[in-house]
């Protein structure tokens, strides 16, 4: 919808990273426009999480460039990424299990009183507000998150990502542990954030979810991008062909990983 005039919010160009000898990501390029949801699909181990962890500052790429709003961005650590408005819901959730929901939501960005001490009351208050939007049945604010269910923990991780006015939101399997009601809540949330002009990377194994929510999809295989395609122009079977065989349909833009 927005790709005719607007410039991309994020461009990742020719990104490569290797762990030991394994090329986890190999010359991958991605882009994302404001108000767009881009799905990232691929097998287990295709390199999806690794690629987006480079964007969120968790890993430094061996090669390649990241641009935010057309400007080269230097993202050397997670704090840098947050300065660019990039928020991430990690596949592993990345929660500190021994502290409560509010402490996790505000981890690294605590609210302080005017004496410079932690303002736990204010943090709990705001956490209650975000959580009401995500998971209205959530009441266990005083518990360490270790004591929460998988879905509740996932809600906490989502709350942390959306509370800070993200401009770019990365969701790595955000609904893997959620029940149907909460999954729908997250889908509604994604649609709402989209109307606010936020760009969203959505990683999911559920191709139906992705077709429901995404404008475009990128498919990865063995660390390489097979290709990208507008969801409106393909069938699910064609996308499955990209994931499994690495074969691009005519409507797709092939990448370095496409088989010819």
């Amino acid at each position: 919808m927005a790709d005719t005039v607007a410039s991309p919010l994020v461009e990742m160009c020719d990104i490569s990273i290797a762990f030991g000898g394994v090329k986890a990501v190999d010359r991958a390029s991605l882009d994302l426009f404001p108000g767009e949801v881009v799905g990232l699909l691929g097998h287990n181990g295709a390199g999806k999480s690794t690629l987006i962890k480079i964007l969120s500052g968790a890993y430094k790429p061996d090669d390649g460039e990241i641009r935010v709003n057309g400007q080269t961005a230097s993202i050397r650590n997670p704090a840098d990424a947050k300065k660019y408005g990039i928020e991430t819901i990690y596949q592993t959730l990345a929660l500190a299990d021994n502290v409560d929901a509010a402490a996790n939501v505000f981890l690294g960005r605590e609210l302080l009183t005017r004496w410079g001490t932690l303002d736990d009351g204010a943090m709990e208050m705001q956490t209650r507000k975000v959580m009401a939007r995500l998971n209205p049945h959530f009441h266990r604010f005083k518990m360490p998150v270790r004591a929460l269910s998988g879905g509740q923990r996932q809600s906490v991780a989502i709350a942390r990502a959306i509370h800070f006015d993200a401009r770019i939101l990365i969701m790595d399997e955000p609904t893997a542990a959620l029940g149907p009601a909460e999954t729908k809540q997250v889908a509604d949330l994604v649609r709402q954030l989209k109307t606010e002009g936020i760009g969203i990377f959505l990683i999911s194994h559920d191709i139906h979810d992705v077709f429901d929510l995404a404008d475009r999809v990128f498919v990865m295989k063995n660390g390489r991008v097979v290709g990208s395609v507008r969801v409106a122009n393909v069938t699910k079977d064609e996308v499955l062909g990209m994931i499994i065989l690495g074969k691009c349909p005519p409507s797709a833009t092939p990448g370095p990983g496409a088989v010819r």
């Binding site: 997670p78 990690y90 021994n98 502290v99 402490a103 981890l107 690294g108 302080l112």
Partner: protein
Amino acid sequence: MNDLLAKLEIDIRLVGMVAALGLVWIGFDYFTGGLFLTPRNLWNLSVQTASIATMSCGMVLVIVTRSIDLSVGSILGFAGMIVGVVQARFLPVDLGWGYDNHWIWLVAVLAGLGIGGLIGTIQGFIIAYLGVSSFIVTLGGLLVWRGAAWWVTQGQTVAPIDARFQMLGGGIKGSVGAPVSWAIGIVTTLLVIGLMLLARRRRIAYGFSIRPAWSEAAIYGVVAITILGVTWIFNAYYIPVSVARRIVEASGQVWPEGGVQIAHGYAIPVLIAIVAGILVSFLAIRTRFGRYLFAIGGNPEAAELSGIRTRRTQMLVFTLMGVLCGLAACISTARLQSATNATGTFDELYVIAATVIGGTSLAGGVGTIHGAMLGAVLMGSLQSGMLLLDMPTPLQNIVVGCVLVLAVWVDGVFRRRVG
């Protein structure tokens, strides 16, 4: 029962620890024929515990971040030698300040804190930035700093200790007396209750759940009785009549017919340990730095991904641990009235035991300062009680070792039950 306790937000662990301490005290009192629960013995116990309690505050933070520090006893030994040499040789002789200078004690204390902090920072740097495990770095430190302590004077004991400095170790001059002790007790009680009321008001303002008023009031009562009770006990330990007489006569008054009783009150090292405990507790609970320590202990990867500078934080924990070792070195040196290269030998074991008995989990992420300080009092009680019973040292070690294992086992069972 558990529901009720949860609603009252009472720390069940703490209650359990106090109960255990009570049992130990009553047991020793019975077997020593009433020698244990006397103001004199409890006062001595408090002074003997001060140094271990001070270090255990720092050890909580170290263990919370999934590290360990085996070198605290050796750092104490080395810092103690530096503190001794500074006040017995360097300042009075080498710099010609003489032995009567008013500032010697302060410079010596600052030297102790500084050298402790420096050593802690060096070890912390190696652990955090060079990635060597804390077990290995501080095991090395255990040997290095004990050796260095010997090197300072080639093994000679350092004396005399400055008269003002000696006050940091307790004794008659190093106690604040009854009026000041009462003032401290009353002000502290009011302060604690005032802060709790403030916290309650804030929770009400936010519309969060609060304790029922009667249970809140009961807690204030317990706080007041504890603080004032401790003050009363220390004020019931009087200095010897001959010393009292000398003090009275030196002040130009006549010694009255029936004599007067002058109380010790709080010993200065005990006040130092308590203040250190309050400050470190504040750091742990109320500041970002403290929050990060717990987050790192709970999930280091999550802390890193949240943008926390985990390496710097980890290094600073060891800096703080080193400073507290320096403080403990001042207390120990002042109490023993000399510096020797063996001071603090095995302290690391007592500090770690106190911390773990006090509920700090070696898996990281969990621990409280007040728990560790209670743990230190428990360890000190065992030592002091067994000494009163004339138990041979090897047997004492066996008992302490067994108690440590037993306490951690009970704590584990408790955690699984209550969570």
